[in-house]
Amino acid sequence: MRRRALGWAFAALAGAAVGVSLLAVALLVLITALQAGPITAMRAVAEAGISLSLRSLEIPGTREAHTYVPMAQVAAGSPAASLGMARGDALVAVAGTGVDRPSRAWEAVGRAPGGRSVTLPVVWLPRAEVTLGGLRMESRNGETRVVLASPSAAAREAGLQPGDALLAVGGIPIQGTRQAWEALAVAARTHGVPVELVLERGSERLTLFWDPTRQAELTFVRDPLRAWWSFLTTLNEPRYPERAGLLPAFLGSVYVVLVMAVVALPLGIAGAVYLEEYAPQNFFTRAMEVLVANLAGIPSAVVGIIGLEVFARALGAGRSVLAGGLTLAVLILPIVIVASREALRTVPRTLREAAFALGATRWETVRHHVLPYAFPAILTGTILSFSRALGEAAPLLFLGAFLFVTYVPQGLMDSFTVVPLQIFEWATRPQDGFAAVAAAAIVVLLSLLLLLNAGAILLRNRLQRRWSE
């Protein structure tokens, strides 16, 4: 009675563990994919035409620094460009939220209530020459001053005159021509508009309030499907996470795994057939079996060193798709062999005897009866080894595969990167947004692995039904 209860308890625990972990992974993927918040918002901002970067301004006389967000690029013909935004403008606020980092702008777009398409107020500070006009440095009474040489129309309208020296902007002392505009950008965000300007006109000091920013309504299209699609199908972009694409890494992974499959499958299955069906029972066979089993336990980094020394250097394949595929083939070969041997062992002895008794040779028996019977199990084992290879980063890192490429490999000898390496590269970047991109790539990788494993199970079930009926 007790033993039975214990058995039930263990069964329940095991079932719960498997069920919970599967459910967790599926939920994780589903939720992330459905929400896809960061990446969708990032893509929406990029689609509106704006690429953001991050700069920092030290406040003179203090240890403080404030950040501001210049537009690194404004795509020609985009909605942003048609509003007059241009490269070098600073983004000040989106939907009423001050923007001190690029992620703040993306979050504001992502969080804004509304459906697929939202129109939000955007505040920006046009670049220095538009806002302030020409500036120059001048020495007055032994002190260096930043003087308005030819104020812009907007500045004139606010009451600034040629020859005025800028002393402080929003409480920030002005020390240089570039810094004057940067101070304006920081002040507009931290103190709001209008900004308090302290001027020196002639010998008198005067204070002026000015709103140098522009405001407009900008429409953002938040489309998760489109965001995912463009994430998967665009080439990579080194600087702007909102335009980073997984295509080179994704196709790199596919190509490398294909090369691996072409090499490892025939070799592995042939090896398993030899060991199970042909090899005589002697010392060498047993030694080989032990070696193969141990090979499966080699750390993948060590396999990477083999790949580097043998394929990349000795065979001169370099850091190419070919070298990567061969290295992964070394990694999964023992797994394929062990899985295939297990599969071959499940073939009933009576089936082999039936073929032999009809005068079939060993090869005819293997080809017509043993392999077809074992095929579903072999397939399952090898697909599982594929998913291991797909998630593997260490061996390719050792091989010297690039972490980052912006093109799709065109041939066997092209260099490449794979999804895990790309994730690693993105995850280690300090800039805003790359963490979200790395997370998106992780979701892609996980979904791919789930898909492969589910495919293996489905395929096995279908084939098994066909054979065992």
Partner: protein
């Protein structure tokens, strides 16, 4: 053993067999008459299946097997130098204890032996002929390609295995307890079939069931502990055995 008035198709001559260090067959001398049914009987573990599997060199497949002596097939030693066991098995067919059809269609089951033998005639006709010989044709003719071997009942499966073996026209058909996994009705059908097979081939049948040996065989060999105790016409073995051990066995004193 008195000289027998027949032409043997298979003969064992001083044949012994070891699995690793354990001797399974001891100095067997036996002649199998052509176009007749010979039964090999004996208690479990007496070596009757091993002897049967030695006749088509299927015992070669077991690791660690050693033999001495000869087995002559039409006068030629099948264990001789340069004899290909595959060739031996093409001429000496076998049916196993448990029906073991291939997981393929009925047609492919029967056609496999023909295909690997490079049969050049009409495959369909030959398959039908074999299925008719095995008394299975009427039951499967409508879905030769749709049904797999596994879709058939146990008795049908065994007759399919017999058809499969007969398709390549073996000169000898070895049967290793072909009815032990079948019900009485299926068994009766197979036994009837075995009687008819002497028209086309020689049958050697290993059986546990003495009544079966009595019903189907012309000759009977009794084995005990790896030795051939007695061989003779079935009726004599069962009614007037010469050896007291044979008498003890056929009268049910042990086994």
């Amino acid at each position: 053993m008195s000289p027998l008035d027949f032409e043997p198709i298979l003969s064992a001559r001083n044949f012994s067999l070891w699995y690793d260090s354990q001797q399974a067959l001891r100095n067997i001398n036996l002649d199998i008459p052509a176009r007749q049914v010979t039964a090999i009987i004996g208690p479990s573990g007496c070596g009757k299946s091993t002897l049967l599997r030695s006749f088509n060199r299927l015992s070669d497949l077991v690791p660690g097997v050693r033999i001495s002596g000869r087995i002559l097939f039409r006068g030629q030693d099948i264990y001789g130098r340069g004899v290909d066991p595959v060739e031996v098995r093409r001429r000496i067919g076998m049916v196993f204890q448990k029906p073991n059809p291939f997981p393929k269609s009925v047609f492919e089951n029967v056609a496999f032996g023909l295909r690997i033998n490079g049969y050049r005639g009409n495959l369909r006709e030959r398959v039908e002929e074999a299925l008719r010989l095995a008394a299975l044709w009427d039951e499967v003719k409508d879905d030769l390609h749709r049904k797999t071997g596994y879709d058939l009942s146990g008795g049908q499966q065994q007759r399919l295995c017999i058809a499969r073996a007969l398709a390549v026209e073996p000169e000898v058909l070895l049967m290793d307890e072909p009815c032990s996994a079948l019900d009485p009705i299926a068994t009766a059908k197979i036994e009837e079939l075995i009687r008819e097979l002497t028209a086309v081939t020689t049958v050697v049948i290993v059986t546990h069931n003495m009544q079966q040996a009595l019903r189907v065989s012309d000759w009977t060999a009794f084995m005990l502990l790896g030795e051939l105790v007695e061989f003779g016409p079935t009726r004599e073995i069962f009614t007037r055995p010469k050896d007291p051990r044979t008498e003890a066995y056929v009268t049910g004193k042990f086994g």
